[in-house]
């Protein structure tokens, strides 16, 4: 029953994801050579386990292998998150691992239910069989599967692990999490695309809410990596929106955005990692004036920021244009896309302003550029941001359309899209000025409530268990009393 249909033959979608993993992972290794100083054996050991898990996930042809490698990846990444061994690492890692296991079990339940219905774990066969089955019988199964995937993605309302886990991990691992790990859920949904008839509306709105929510909270953050983490939620919202719309352009845009987001978000995390590496600071109000000290970081950060804001000619522009093109039919979605893009722009202006401009704090007098082994991956990624944007059209026809399995036509260089970009800059500048005036940016952390609810529920559970512990009989008489109570109760129940 287990492991009899592992991999192969690789199809275009797997190849596309494999390309992302294979391209980005070596960069993380190179970056880690300089960044990671302690516990080298443990670090690379779990990094390889995570790599194996990711490769397995994208190559798996059946749902059970997918689940198995997903959990391998989760465990690997857990040990990477706690690698810093700071006080906050452990709660963050704990939250991460529990939520990922929960997501995994949802996926496992869906897998088993599909197996019971169709008699196979293979995705292609399930897709064939699912067409025969009536909608109402399989809708809950697909919903379970989708919930599992959304947990892995960190989409609202399943995001509460993400803003904790990303900032506390070592920077290359934040890049790995944001660049590859959270993509796995989106990949799984695309892989199970035949479920879309049922899931589509939910995905669209979860995507839209994630976009708005992520960017809104990102605007408020003062911890550089936490800010980026909220942007990951927001950007994965784009991907979900694209998948949810489900047209050729939507799916193509989602796949393209998976690639692009992996590239520019990794670059952003690596840039911030470089800053943290040389300064030791993560708070925006303790940074500033680094432009002259870290010119290469400045350059790469600028490229990445323009890319994530969706400005031409960088790669974010191309995929966001596709997704917003797919959403063009619905006015609300269009509005969400524009506002999110503007908010993204504003928050990166803020990040740029507070880290690179202004006056250099006294403590940071002696800082210089990051080591070459850290700069190299950053430069490669910056070049990729540029290249992927410029060659968007050939990429679309050569790589993404085959991966999506559809014919996709899209004109990237139309005047209308440039007009959109102009609007984004205009609105974004407006939001930035407004935010600076109203002191919105530096405000203390607000609780969305969900995190608070979950943490308190956990505390309540623990208190309940502690109460149970107190109830535990300690006296021998009480034990024997229970024996006879049990005997009588069983006798009563069984009759």
């Amino acid at each position: 029953m287990i492991f009899n249909t592992p991999f192969l033959p690789v199809d275009n979608l797997s190849r596309f994801m494999l390309l992302i993993v294979a391209f980005l992972f070596p960069l993380i290794f190179i970056y880690s050579f300089s960044y990671v100083k302690r516990n080298l054996f443990r670090y690379y050991f779990v990094l390889f386990i995570a790599l194996g898990g990711m490769l397995g996930v994208v190559l798996a042809r059946d749902l059970l292998s997918f689940y198995v490698f997903l959990e391998v990846m989760t465990v690997g990444i857990y040990f990477l998150i706690i690698d810093n061994a700071k006080k906050e690492s452990f709660p963050a890692g704990f939250k991460y691992v529990l939520m990922m296991f929960a997501g995994g079990i949802f996926i496992l339940l869906a897998t088993l239910l599909l197996y019971n219905l169709t008699g196979t774990f293979e995705i292609a066969e399930i897709a064939k069989a699912a067409k025969m089955l009536p909608g109402p019988s399989i809708a809950p199964i697909f919903a379970l599967f989708a919930i599992g995937c959304l947990l892995e993605i960190g989409a609202v309302p399943f995001h509460i692990w993400l803003p904790d886990a990303h900032p506390i991990a070592p920077s290359p691992i934040s890049a790995l999490l944001s660049g590859i790990a959270i993509k796995v859920g989106a990949y799984a949904i695309i892989r199970m695309l035949f479920t879309l008839d049922i899931l589509s509306p939910a995905l669209v709105w979860i995507g839209a809410i994630s976009m708005l929510f992520g960017v809104l909270l990102a605007l408020k953050q003062t911890n550089v990596k936490r800010l980026l983490a909220y942007h990951s939620i927001s950007q994965m919202g784009y991907v979900l929106l694209g998948i949810g719309i489900g047209s050729g352009i939507g799916i193509g845009g989602a796949l393209f955005h998976i690639l692009n987001h992996a590239v520019f978000k990794m670059l952003l995390f690596l840039c911030m990692g470089a800053i943290i590496y040389v300064t030791g600071e993560r708070e925006l109000n303790k940074l500033g004036g680094l432009a002259k000290r870290m010119p290469v970081t400045l350059l790469t950060f600028g490229v990445a920021a323009l890319a994530i804001a969706g400005l031409p000619p960088f790669n974010g522009f191309a995929s966001k244009a596709m997704i917003s093109g797919a959403a063009a039919g619905n006015l609300w979605l269009k509005l969400v896309v524009i506002i999110t893009a503007a908010g993204t722009f504003a928050s990166f202006v803020k990040l740029f302003r507070f880290s690179f401009l202004g006056s250099l704090p006294v403590k940071l007098k002696d800082v210089g550029e990051a080591p070459a082994l850290m700069l190299f991956p950053m430069l490669v990624l910056a070049a990729a941001c540029f290249g992927l944007g410029l060659y968007a059209s050939p990429l679309l026809s050569g790589l993404i359309a085959p991966a999506a399995g559809r014919v996709i036509e899209f004109n990237f260089w139309s005047a209308k899209l440039f007009l959109d970009a102009f609007w984004i800059v205009f609105l974004g500048a407006g939001i930035y000025i407004l935010g600076m005036k109203t002191d919105f940016f530096g405000a203390t952390e607000i609780n969305f409530g969900l995190d608070w609810v979950c943490c308190n529920a956990a505390k309540l559970l623990e208190r309940g268990c502690a109460g149970l512990k107190k109830l535990q009989a300690r006296m021998l008489n009480a034990h024997l009393f229970w024996v006879f109570v049990a005997l009588i109760l069983i006798l009563i129940v069984i009759r």
Binding site: F79, Q472, I490
Partner: protein, 487 residues
């Protein structure tokens, strides 16, 4: 090898007494050699029966040549073969762990062999009174094993264990007496053939017998609310004895449940709610065990509560009573024996090195003991049910069986149980990886830990991985066992 079934029981029994005689032989480590031989020899006898049993046959043996209704008879079928195999396997690894520790002398090995021979007797016998006798042998050996180090708390825990388990055996004896009175035979097959008629004429008495046995076996396997002896006994016992208790002795309760309930009540009672009862008690056991482990700070007690919780999974599988459910249940019995024994070994090493019993004191353990911590992580992932380790496969079978039975309440609780398990094990793991260093108490000097202790934890971790990747080997062993239960 015509006498193989009796030799499987008698060889460890004789070896148990032979270990004392090694005092007079001019032999270095004589007790250890005798102990190892006393376990390896029955393994060989068992393998000699393997082919016949796995083909679905039953090897019967009449003690002293007296046939069934008069004499005691033994039988090796698929179920007993499977149990005997892992009991001997884990027993051997327990001896390997004990090899390096000098305090474990002749008396220890003697009692260990006595306990193993008791377990093997329970597994092989087809005479219900004989089963009771072997239960008592096992119980007596394990009381003394728990108090082996003669600490006050261990003696208190052992006394509690003594009283509660004896109350279980009194109830079991009562059930046997009732059955004997009704049927006039103590042979299991003999009772089983008559029990349907009795049920038709007088169902109340069968309910009483069932309840008495249920409580007796429930106490033995740690079913809620009869689990109360487990945490104390497990945590106070010397480490290898904790492994023995958790890995093997708890499983004997499940074995008796499987053997007797399916044989006696398989047709009549099991369909009428007994299965449901076991299932729901299993669910409560699962959640309560996990919940109590969550707030437990003593490492060994935490592992004991975790055992209770895992027994809950097994009870759920037994209660379902379907092909797939039993496959998962039996597999989980095997897996849990491997995993929990390994975890107790890891805990034992960590406790003997740090001098602390409480998890909250074991900060930064991994820096001193990377190997043991690694084994602990692997084993705890296995017990949570994370692939590619063995716990995953059995839990998946159980989960699938509950899904097949459309019991979504059970699915929900199994789900919650897995998450709670993850929560309390990761709480321990994150303490091990914490940046602070633990400080020895000033009056504590760590005992040296030899290669054998480490080796046994690595063997367990490796076995968990191998069984997880190649579950087919064990599933092939389980199939004949299921054929016995569901003919």
């Amino acid at each position: 090898m015509a006498h193989a079934p009796i030799l499987i029981i008698v060889v460890p029994l004789l070896a148990a007494f032979l270990t004392h005689l090694t005092k007079y032989a001019n032999l270095r480590r004589g007790a250890e050699i005798v102990a190892a031989a006393g376990i390896i020899a029955p393994l060989i006898f068992l393998f000699s029966l393997g082919k016949t049993v796995l083909e679905g046959n039953v090897v019967k043996y009449d003690l002293g040549g007296w046939p069934a209704p008069i004499g005691i008879n033994l039988a090796v079928d698929g179920l007993s073969f499977f149990f005997a195999l892992f009991v001997l396997g884990v027993g051997l690894l327990i001896v390997v762990y004990s090899l390096g520790i000098y305090q474990y002398a002749r008396r220890y090995y003697s009692l260990l062999l006595l306990a193993l021979s008791g377990i093997l007797g329970i597994i092989l016998t087809r005479d219900i009174f004989n089963m009771y006798v072997f239960f008592e042998i096992l119980a007596v050996a394990s009381y003394v094993l728990i108090t082996y180090k003669r600490k006050a708390r261990a003696i208190a825990a052992s006394f509690k264990y003594l009283i509660i388990t004896e109350s279980a055996w009194v109830l079991f004896l009562l059930a046997i007496a009732i059955l004997y009175g009704l049927t006039g035979t103590l042979n299991m097959d003999g009772i089983a053939s008559q029990i349907n008629n009795i049920y038709k004429s007088n169902p109340q008495v069968i309910y009483l017998v069932f309840s008495l046995m249920m409580v007796a076996f429930g106490i033995k396997c740690g079913m809620f609310p009869l689990h109360t002896w487990i945490p104390e006994a497990h945590s106070q016992a010397p480490t290898p004895v904790s492994s023995l208790l958790s890995g093997l002795i708890l499983k004997v309760g499940i074995y008796a449940m499987l053997r007797i309930f399916f044989l006696f009540f398989g047709a009549s009672l099991f369909l009428r709610g007994a299965g449901q009862l076991i299932l729901y008690l299993g669910l409560v056991t699962l959640i309560v065990g996990a919940g109590l482990a969550l707030v437990q700070d003593e490492l060994k007690k935490l592992l004991a509560y975790s055992s209770i919780s895992q027994i809950g999974y097994i009870l759920v599988a037994v209660g379902l009573g379907t092909q797939l459910g039993l496959k998962g249940g039996l597999f989980h019995i095997f897996n849990h024996a491997l995993i929990k024994s390994g975890l107790f070994f890891c805990a034992g090493i960590i406790i003997s090195q740090t001098g602390f019993w409480k998890v909250s004191n074991m900060k930064g353990v991994w820096r001193q003991m990377p190997g043991v911590t690694f084994s602990f992580c692997v084993l705890s992932l296995a017990v949570i049910g994370i692939p590619p380790f063995n716990g995953f496969v059995s839990k998946m079978f159980i989960l699938d069986a509950t899904l097949m039975a459309d019991n979504y309440l059970a699915v929900f609780f199994l789900f919650t149980g897995i998450l709670l398990t993850a929560a309390y094990y990761f709480r321990v793991i994150q303490t091990f990886f914490s940046p602070e260093e633990f400080q020895h108490r000033p009056d504590f000097t760590p005992q040296p830990v030899g290669p054998f202790e480490h080796l046994s934890t690595y063997i367990f971790a490796l076995l968990c991985l191998l069984v997880g990747i190649f579950p087919g080997i064990i599933v092939n062993l389980i199939q004949p066992a299921i054929k016995v239960l569901l003919p």
